[in-house]
């Protein structure tokens, strides 16, 4: 139709129509503005998410590669006592020989060799010492070793320390930077995948600190949580949904569960501290206690998810089973629950994913303390992935900064995997019906 703005020529213009028409433009402008507010709000949310994830990736990706130094060292019998090979200062040995190689003389107080030592990880001397103790015949030989480079030197090679910064404000002096340049030119410095980050536990030395201990701690904790919270949660939901008569007690339990779901997580930490640690004397900072606390915390979520999965099973299934002569228990456990299982598992996995990211209650049960190495069992002190993020974020070394972001990426990766599993389950759930 071309006569787009067909004037009310045919119809006599009514006063109301004219009045409405006059305001129409302004009303549509308001409409547009209002719609724009909605879009802006969503835009802001999306933007925040992008900035959040972007900033973490940007800060964290560099922790996934690292620099190592390969050099030769002469295991000087004058320094290493063959009868006590563990007593020598291997770090100093490496540093002084590196200085000599670069043609730099150490001063009397050893300032330069100290500066050189700072460029190597303490792991270099430690590894050397181990080798010599194992095979004392190496003394007197020149051997090649490879060790992680010091954290500050690593940052320099990652362009995180710039020469433009005044010397006093950076962790490495001009002299140290010159040495590093020469070492790099000689091909001694190699960069590669930071496998230590995934195979080591926590450490005070950033270049030796890894997430494995925390990952295993989190896994053990989730194991305890899952083994307790899922059966108990499902049991409680089955009781409330299929068995309980509607009376005051069950109504009270329902209100209770809804409120428990909204109790701040830190309160569960207080509960764990008071009951599990101070009353029952379970070991502090252990995955057992952590798992118990997280289990209590996830219980309401699992109960609520299971109940809605049970509600979704059509009543005809129950009636059919009962009509076949099955008892109520048989009807629930043989027919209703299996049908609700995908929904139950989806809810349970999402609750576990949430528990994995929970930090506050774990701080209160002692996990905030430094736990090097890999946890040995359910009752030994252990770290957890989100707590590691918190600890590293508080560390003063610059190099921990990128590792914190990298640990977050590891944490998010686990959560994404769990969520994907939940989505796949949900898909299968839909197919079944």
């Amino acid at each position: 139709m071309t006569d787009a703005a067909l004037p009310p020529a045919v119809a006599p213009a009514r006063p109301a129509t004219a009045a409405i028409q006059k305001r129409l433009k302004a009303r549509y402008a308001r409409e547009k503005r209002f719609r724009a507010y909605g879009l802006i709000a969503i835009g802001i949310a999306v933007l925040f998410l992008a900035v959040l994830l972007g900033s973490i990736v940007k800060q964290g990706y560099s922790a996934f590669y690292t620099h190592a130094v390969t050099a030769e060292v002469y295991l000087d019998p004058a320094v290493i006592d063959a009868s006590n090979p563990g007593g020598a200062n291997y770090d100093q040995l490496i540093a002084s020989q590196q200085l000599a190689e670069l043609g730099v003389a150490d001063d009397e107080r050893g300032t330069r060799s100290t500066a050189m030592r700072a460029l190597f990880s303490p792991d270099a001397g430690f590894g050397l010492r181990e080798r010599v103790i194992e095979d004392p015949s190496l003394i007197g030989q020149t051997i090649e070793f490879t060790a992680p480079i010091g954290d500050d030197a690593d940052l320099y090679f990652k362009d995180d320390i710039s020469r433009d910064t005044p010397q006093a404000q950076r962790r490495l002096s001009d002299e140290q930077l010159a040495w590093l340049d020469r070492m790099e030119q000689s091909g001694a410095v190699t960069s590669g995948f930071n496998s230590d980050f995934f195979t080591r536990g926590d450490s005070t030395q950033p270049e030796l600190a890894g997430v494995l201990g925390a990952v295993i701690g989190s896994a053990l904790m989730l194991l305890v949580t899952g083994l307790l919270a899922i059966p108990i949660g499902v049991g409680a939901a089955v009781y409330l949904e299929e068995f309980a008569r509607k009376n005051r007690i069950t109504a009270f339990i329902e209100v209770n569960i809804n409120n428990l779901a909204a109790v701040p997580s830190i309160v569960y930490g207080l509960l764990g501290l008071a009951v599990f640690i101070n009353w029952m004397h379970l070991p502090r900072a252990s995955p057992l206690v952590g798992g118990l606390v997280l289990a209590l915390m996830s219980l309401p979520t699992i109960i609520i998810a299971t109940r809605s999965a049970l509600k979704a099973v059509p009543p005809s299934i129950r009636e059919a089973a009962l009509a076949m002569g099955a008892s109520r228990t048989q009807s629930v456990f043989h027919h209703v629950l299996p049908l609700a299982m995908p929904g139950v598992m989806t809810g349970a996995i999402l609750a576990m994913a949430h528990a994995l990211g929970e930090t506050a209650p774990l701080l209160l049960i002692g996990m905030v303390s430094f736990t090097p190495g890999i946890p040995e069992g359910l009752t030994s002190p252990s770290g957890a992935l989100p707590v590691l993020v918190y600890i590293w974020e508080n560390a003063s070394e610059r190099a921990f900064h990128e590792r914190t972001a990298a640990a977050i990426l590891v944490l998010l990766a686990f959560m994404i995997v769990m969520n994907l599993v939940a989505i796949v389950l949900r898909r299968r759930f839909e197919r079944r019906w």
Binding site: F48, L49, V238, I303, E393
Partner: protein, 476 residues
């Protein structure tokens, strides 16, 4: 140890099941039994395993308490002479040492010697109780087994009995929810009462001096006046308000857009994005606040301050130049981001619950979408949205990691968003993550704060849930 007990228990149960099944088959020879053999086995299993399990659980829960009471009953004079706080710390260390740990405190002179001897005594009592518990568990299991085996007979209604047990188990599962609540209330109340013995509740709630770090020694409590939590409440309130100012409008407008404007395709994109935002752990938000937002905002304000300094607004400029990373605005703002998906999904549900007939009625009058939203949907959904906001407020008050990482420790009575404030949850974490004995007023203060937090959030939740429920019933 736990693993060993579990394996033994499982083995014992399996044997009981097998025995029950076998016996049932033998006794039923030739006749038709009421229940299938498996139910007879399961019945015997339950009677064998549950008494043993109950004994073991009771032991795990109460043995430490009994051990403690036994220790106290024969406590040496030198320890009884100590003040109660110190005594508690001593016994805590005794138990720690008895478990093979290292003491938390440094004990000198006779106390150090007593610590060792008492620890040995504690270990002895503990060992005896473990042995006694094990014997009791085995006995309970065997008696149960014997009783159950006697009842196995063809006419015996094993299935009904087993199902009775299952129903009982399911009930216990749901009772755990109540036990958890009771546990929370009991532990918070018990420790708080001890705290309120040394600090009056009025002073705690309304006092304006918060400096728990000064009160290292127990006898200083009350004199320092260091446990007035009002600044924490003000700080918590300030950060919550900032968070709601961010999350409220953004979340609400997102919900309106999602429910009224977005087509299915847009929803399919936007909803997952909001879900991701909701799934990010709070510790990650804390990191983001502390290391990205904090420095950025500080740089911004310092820059503005530098511009203003020397001008007509010199004092403001000077102030802005001193703004810290840990301002309330940072923690509150990032917490607001965290709450956006929470507010938005709750409001989305609420707005969707408004009947379509009201929308139709408004559109049929010639209202535009925005007029319908503003004049019909929002007024209709107002109670529900208020409930959703209250739930978000409760979340904001209880949120811990963002404020712990991004807000400061300075307890200040201020509503200035550029100042550093501290919150209830930050102080709970700070008080409980240091290395100090459990019974010091410092740690007990954390429980007092926890109790306050619990009561406030619980109250908000109950009110909010009632509002939302009544709202939903109105349109059902």
């Amino acid at each position: 140890m736990i693993l060993l007990v579990l394996i033994l228990l499982i083995g014992f149960s399996a044997a009981a099941y097998w025995a029950g099944r076998r016996l049932a088959r033998r006794r039923a020879a030739g006749t038709r039994a009421h229940s299938s053999l498996g139910y007879h086995g399961a019945y015997v299993l339950l009677w064998a395993a549950i008494p043993a399990l109950v004994v073991l659980i009771l032991m795990a829960v109460f043995s430490t308490g009994i051990q403690y009471q036994l220790l106290l009953a024969d406590a040496p004079e030198a320890i009884r002479a100590l003040d109660p706080m110190r005594q508690g710390a001593f016994w805590y260390d005794v138990l720690t040492v008895a478990d093979g740990g290292t003491p938390q405190q440094i004990w000198a002179g006779p106390q150090a010697e007593l610590l060792q001897s008492e620890a040995q005594r504690a270990a002895r009592i503990g060992g005896l109780m473990t042995l006694g518990g094990a014997v009791a568990a085995v006995l309970a299991g065997l008696i149960g087994l014997g009783l159950a085996l006697r009842r196995v007979a063809p006419q015996f209604r094993a299935r009904n009995r087993v199902e009775g047990w299952i129903a009982a188990f399911l009930f216990v599962c749901s009772a755990i929810a109540i036990l958890t609540t009771l546990g929370i209330i009991a532990s918070l109340l018990f420790e708080s009462l001890r705290f309120f013995q040394s600090v009056s509740p009025l002073e705690f709630l309304f006092g304006t001096q918060w400096s728990p770090q000064i009160a290292i020694r127990a006898d200083q409590v009350g004199q320092t006046g260091g446990f007035g939590a009002a600044p924490l409440f003000v700080g918590t309130f300030l950060i919550m308000m900032i968070a709601m100012l961010v999350a409220g409008p953004i979340g609400l407008f997102s919900a309106i857009y999602l429910s009224e404007y977005a087509g299915p395709r847009q929803r399919a994109i936007i909803k997952p994005v909001l879900e991701i935002l909701a799934g990010v752990p709070t510790v990650v938000y804390g990191f983001f606040a502390a290391l990205t937002v904090g420095p950025a905002l500080r740089g911004f304000f310092n820059g503005v301050g530098a511009q203003l300094a020397g001008g007509p607004l010199d004092s403001l400029g000077q102030y802005l130049m001193l703004v810290q990373n840990q301002m309330a605005l940072v923690a509150g703002g990032v917490m607001g981001i965290m709450l956006i998906p929470f507010v938005s999904s709750l409001s989305d549900d609420i707005i969707n619950a408004v009947p379509q007939s009201l929308r139709d009625g408004s559109y049929a009058m010639g209202a535009t979408k925005s007029e319908t939203v503003k004049r019909v949907l929002l007024p209709a959904a107002l109670p529900g949205i208020a409930g959703a906001f209250l739930l978000a407020v409760s979340r904001a008050i209880g949120e811990t990691m963002i404020v712990t990482m991004a807000a400061g420790l300075a307890a200040r009575m201020t509503l200035n968003p550029l100042d550093t404030v501290t919150t209830v949850t930050v102080q709970i974490v700070t008080l409980l993550t240091g290395d100090q004995e459990f019974n010091s007023p410092k740690t007990l203060a954390a429980f007092g704060l926890g109790l306050t937090l619990f009561i406030v959030t619980l109250g908000l939740n109950i009110i909010a849930q009632q509002i939302v429920q009544r709202y939903r019933e109105q349109y059902d």
